[in-house]
Symmetry: C2
Subunit: 189 residues, 2 copies
């Protein structure tokens, strides 16, 4: 029987290699675009053999997909973290909107960001994000600081579409103003 | 010397053929997608010879581009028309926002609409639209019904991004609510 400590070591090693593959691929795609990245180059940069790489992933698309899912999970964690220190639902909503707008503003000219936002994963990620934001909005609506004449899901759609304008804003000050404008739109009449 | 009446007849005929080519191509792209449409098919459906078609356009892409520019021009005309009967800048702004949101809601699942919004023409059209809307917003801001703490251009970006959510709304009632939410965001604090 293989001792548990050994299992843990193997699993830990696997995770390190897995993460190295994702990071190396992200760096290569960022530098050269997705079409120019090969499994050989990824294996070389990750410091593993090609045969080993194929034990982890069948192709570049699968690696990029895994990287996207990780980014999406981290992004949602960050959004949740931005709000969770706040007790007041209205303040939590503002913190969440600000974190999302800032992330869009910071990353919109990143090739990888564009890639994440251009396929089916973006659709699923957007669904998760929408559900999360609709929850924050519903809590704020329950305390009377957000209008209740529209469904929280529709208000979340409004926020996500409107905050995408952060990509066109010249600086953080304009992004802050955008968040204020979007937030004003949520206020009860 | 060719008489002017003859010139006018030729020009009129040219315009009729030109428009027929655009309409036939739009119908074919709508039915089969842009990749499946050939110059031969367009000539056949337009009732002209292939050689004649090539006197008007070098390829399918050029036809689709011409069609897109026409659609964009018409769309902007419609938006301007929606506002121009209104004397009050605030009412004109509401009419413009409503017309834009309704157009997005009505056409978002149209293949051709997606095509218009997926290339460089969309960028230029978006610029024109942004300039137009920024003007309507600036007029409303001058009368005190719109906030002046953000540039009209940034407020226009906010509106255009936010109103794109009309594509996700289930019905006209939800679209109307969206317009109200977006408009609320523009109000002075």
């Amino acid at each position: 029987m293989v001792p548990k400590l050994w299992d843990a070591t193997i699993e830990s090693h696997r995770q390190v290699v897995h993460q190295a593959i994702l990071d190396v691929t992200a760096a290569l795609v960022r530098a050269h675009g997705p079409a120019a990245v090969s499994m050989s180059q990824i294996a070389k940069d990750a410091g593993i053999g090609r045969a080993t790489l194929y034990k982890y992933f069948p192709d570049v698309t699968a690696i990029v997909t895994a990287w996207q899912e990780q980014q999406i999970a981290r992004h949602l964690d960050r959004l949740a973290a931005a709000g969770e220190t706040q007790q007041d639902p209205a303040v939590r909503l503002t913190a969440t909107l600000t974190a999302y707008a800032s992330a869009i503003h910071a990353h919109h000219d990143d090739k990888l960001f564009a890639l994440v936002h251009s396929n089916d994963h973006a659709g699923r990620a957007q669904d998760k994000l929408r559900t999360f934001l609709a929850g924050v909005i519903a809590e704020a609506a329950a305390t009377g600081t957000v209008r209740t004449d529209a469904e929280p899901g529709h208000l979340a759609d409004y926020c996500l579409f409107a905050l995408a304008a952060a990509a066109t804003m010249p600086d953080e000050a304009a992004v802050g103003k955008l968040v204020d404008i979007v937030h004003t739109g949520l206020r009860p009449g």
